[in-house]
Amino acid sequence: MPEVKVVGLTKTFGNGKIVAVDNVSLEVHDKEYVALVGPSGCGKTTLLRLIAGLIQPDKGEIYIDDVRVNKVPPEDRGIGFVFQTYALFPHMDVWDNVTYGPRIKALDEKKAAALGRETLEMMLLYERSDAFPHELSGGMMQRVAVARALAAGAKLLLLDEPLGALDAKIRNELRYEIRRLVKDLELTAIHVTHDQGEAMAISDRIAVMRKGKILQVGSPHELYMNPEHLFVANFIGESNFLEGYVADTKENLAKIRLRGNLIVYASNAKDRQKDERIALAVRPEALTLERGWKKAHNSIQGNIGEVSFEGTTTRYEVVLPNEDKIIVTKPSLAEEPFEVGEKVTASFQPEKSHIFPYPRRGLMEELKLE
């Protein structure tokens, strides 16, 4: 069963000027669904193409089932690859596309046909066997692309932004369909996406990439609850970042002095030292809002700056006395909405916040997606 391991993988382009993948190591276990996420240009697709053998690494090793495959051509790696554009062969109908894999490997015609039929039925596409790619909807093309990869006998499925070209509703439906399929067929899957919501919904583990490096690997819950990097805290979910200094520490708690002499307490799991410059991260959904300026525990007073109704939740921008702005999201049905200009008190539990050392290159630079 396929296990994938990459060790110290590096890939550069433009005579070494662009480092697309920078000394990356990653293990994907058998039957595991792993998502590679990160902003555009972070190297996630390059990493996937290296694993597939579509490009060759400059350095590093790639193992599939403990076999070093660096020099194995893609056709012999036992993979299925679903491309972002689907890459359905335009001169072949659905049937020929799906049975291409078995036939190109000279499998017995009857077996190839049986495989094709079985896969198409599983993907609810058998009725459209004689349709050409240009006659299919985006969702159907995506399913044909998955069916084609499965019919080729792949046990390792590599998916490169497979839902990127679909509209939101279909994307949401298909992501669960793909996960169910991978789990039912006991496949191993590596799924590249820039949509952290999609990654959280489908994967067993997520690897967050930035500038060619993997910053953190963990389950969606781990990454959300315990981000180890400022960038991860911002990219997986959403966070408010406030600049300040550690005024004092006591056990697992740190007293933080924010700009404008505002005092809050935060969890000090990473043992920050007194007087250290830090960035405090608090998720919008971890903040509670009360009407009026109140002296509540671990709270900051402010005024509502903007209100955005987003359906399930409402998003409030709160302007603090030091002119910093924080975002607070509240369930839309839970309470009466706040008005713009209204005085409010925002508070949070210290254990639901994270302290990071203040980045040398500045906060904005560290959080930049490009």
Binding site: A52, F83, P90, H91, Y100, I104, K105, A106
Partner: protein, 556 residues
């Protein structure tokens, strides 16, 4: 500057008036029908009764049919070897990683810019004379005849196939091949089952262009053919005053009409079968194809490709320069520069050739541009556009010598048209499709939404064209113009057919070379070498100037 702005504003303003816009389109259609499409068809069709002269002379009939048969046979054979050699070359250029491939890419264009008569003489010197490769063997290696005709046609049609296929491979979405590889196909299997079927229209297009070019070529073929006679040479032979006196115009009309009809039928069959023909993906042999994909086989293929390119194409094509260099030292150059003796005629012909090339190009640019927009943007509806899109191909597929005969017969009914304009009309007919096809494809590639955005921002139709479309299609515009110009300057067959007194430079050079062909092994003439050298030199200079002009006008 203010005056220029005023003029542009005036044209911008009037371009908004539908009546004016449609007048431009209808003028373009009228020009196409009256000058390009109808005369070549009506010219021979109106004189069809003259063909009885051939029907009553079985010997002449058999000679004509044999010649026509050879034309199509050679064109078919040459087009097949063009594809066989051109595809690996294009593959190497488009897919290779070496920087030297840019040089190779440019070298492949060389036979295209060398006027075909010079090319013919060059091949003759290389393969037949003791100055060339035959010198090694002490005797003529390849005598003038069908084999040399095949080698010649291969040389000048090869760049067409390479150009078309390099373009197609660069436009091709490589992801399809990658998808096939991830599904278990070896590189050769992926190319056979996915890449080539997707590139089928380009393969057919390259085949058709090479085939048409081979059928049309006359001047250089006469130079290398010896006693061998194909359709074009038959027509040229029948167009002499002696033959006219002996056989009349019947053989001309017969051969031209047959060439035109058979060419049209063959191209119709290729189009019909081409779209239906499928490259089978069944019955695969994975092991064999895997072996073919191996590094050794690929290296062997690349080596064979380079060998073919240099030994069969580039060295023979450029060999004429060997006879141009001695001419620089033995006084021939001085005579040429002083315009002494035959050189006076040469310079007059050269000026005439470039003048005709310039006028034909200018007229086609002005009249072809609205036609290209009309077809690309479907200005008169889908059906009309598709109809003209097919019709503009006809001058390409009709052999130029037959076209020339037909045009000559048609325009001579109107005796007030001077001979110079007859030649210009012939060149307009032959070169028109190269410009319109190139520009139509380029305009089609420009997203119509870009045009709409400019209109919404306040640009009038003419302003949209000059500020948006033209900068985006400039490369294809000039490329089309360059092809028209070079094609016109090297045109021989149709010129011979329509001209009585005037001589363009390829026609003159054919006249110079003919006496050299009398012996078994052709002699080297420094004058011919120098004449060909001048022709090549001036063509290259003009092309370089045009390329610099294009580059100087921005990044597109």
């Amino acid at each position: 500057m203010r005056k220029r702005a005023k003029i542009l504003k005036f044209f911008d303003e009037i371009s908004s008036k539908p009546i004016l816009r449609y007048s431009v389109y209808f003028s373009a259609i009228l020009f196409f029908l009256a000058i390009i499409l109808v005369p070549p068809i009506l010219g021979t069709a109106l004189k069809w009764d003259l063909m009885t002269e051939v029907f009553n002379n079985p010997e002449l009939m058999s000679r004509a049919l044999n010649a026509i048969g050879f034309s199509f046979g050679i064109a078919l054979f040459v087009s097949i070897i063009d594809l066989a050699a051109g595809i690996p070359t294009a593959w190497l250029i488009a897919r290779g990683k070496s920087r030297w491939l840019n040089v190779l890419d440019t070298l492949c264009d060389l036979p295209f810019i060398i006027p075909t008569v010079a090319l013919g003489y060059s091949l003759l010197l290389f393969w037949n004379s003791t100055y060339g490769i035959s010198g090694i063997f002490g005797n003529s290696l390849v005598s003038p005849g069908w084999l040399l005709v095949i080698l010649l046609h291969f040389v000048f049609s090869f760049p067409i196939v390479v150009r078309v296929m390099v373009g197609a491979l660069l436009d091709y979405q490589y992801v399809y091949e990658e998808a096939a590889r991830t599904l278990g196909a070896s590189p050769v299997a992926a190319e056979r089952t996915v890449t080539f079927p997707i590139l089928k229209p380009s393969l057919i297009g390259a085949f058709v262009l090479a085939f048409a070019r081979s059928i049309s070529e006359t001047g250089a073929t006469i130079v290398v053919a010896g006693t061998f006679e194909n359709g074009a040479i038959f027509i040229a032979n029948m167009n002499t005053p002696e033959s006219q006196a002996q056989f009349g115009q019947g053989p001309l009309v017969f051969a031209s009409l047959m060439l035109i009809l058979i060419a049209v039928v063959i191209f119709a069959i290729i189009q019909l079968l081409g779209t239906k023909m499928k490259i089978p993906i069944k019955r695969m042999s994975p092991t064999f194809e895997r072996k073919l994909s191996g590094r050794k086989v690929v290296s062997l293929r690349d080596s064979a490709t380079l060998f073919t390119l240099f030994v069969l194409i580039l060295i023979p094509a450029l060999f004429v320069s060997a006879s141009a260099f001695p001419a620089l030292l033995d006084g021939t150059l001085n005579s040429a520069l002083a315009s002494e003796g035959v050189w006076q005629e040469f310079w007059q012909s050269l000026v005439l050739s470039y003048f005709i090339g310039f006028v034909a190009t200018l007229i086609n640019v002005v009249m072809g541009l609205p036609m290209a927009i009309l077809i690309a943007r479907k200005r008169l509806g889908k059906t009309v556009s598709a109809f003209f899109d097919v019709l503009v191909n006809i001058p390409i597929i009709v052999p130029s010598v037959a076209l020339g005969v037909s045009l000559g017969l048609f325009w001579r009914n109107l005796p007030f048209i001077p001979e110079l304009w007859l030649i210009i009309f012939a060149h307009i007919s032959i070169t028109y499709p190269y410009f319109v096809k190139s520009l139509t494809a380029a305009i089609t590639r420009v997203d119509v939404e870009i045009e709409n955005a400019a209109r919404i921002l306040g640009a009038r139709p003419f302003a949209v064209f000059r500020t948006i479309i033209m900068p985006l299609v400039k490369y294809s515009f000039f490329a089309g113009a360059i092809i028209m110009f070079t094609r016109s300057v090297s045109e021989t067959g149709a010129t011979v057919a329509v001209a009585a007194e005037l001589q363009t430079v390829p026609v003159l050079l054919v006249g110079w070379i003919k006496p050299l062909l009398n012996s078994d092994v052709v002699g080297m003439s420094f004058a011919v070498g120098l004449g060909c050298g001048f022709l090549i030199l001036f063509s290259i200079i003009i092309l370089l100037v045009l390329r610099l002009m294009i580059r100087g006008r921005g990044r597109y």
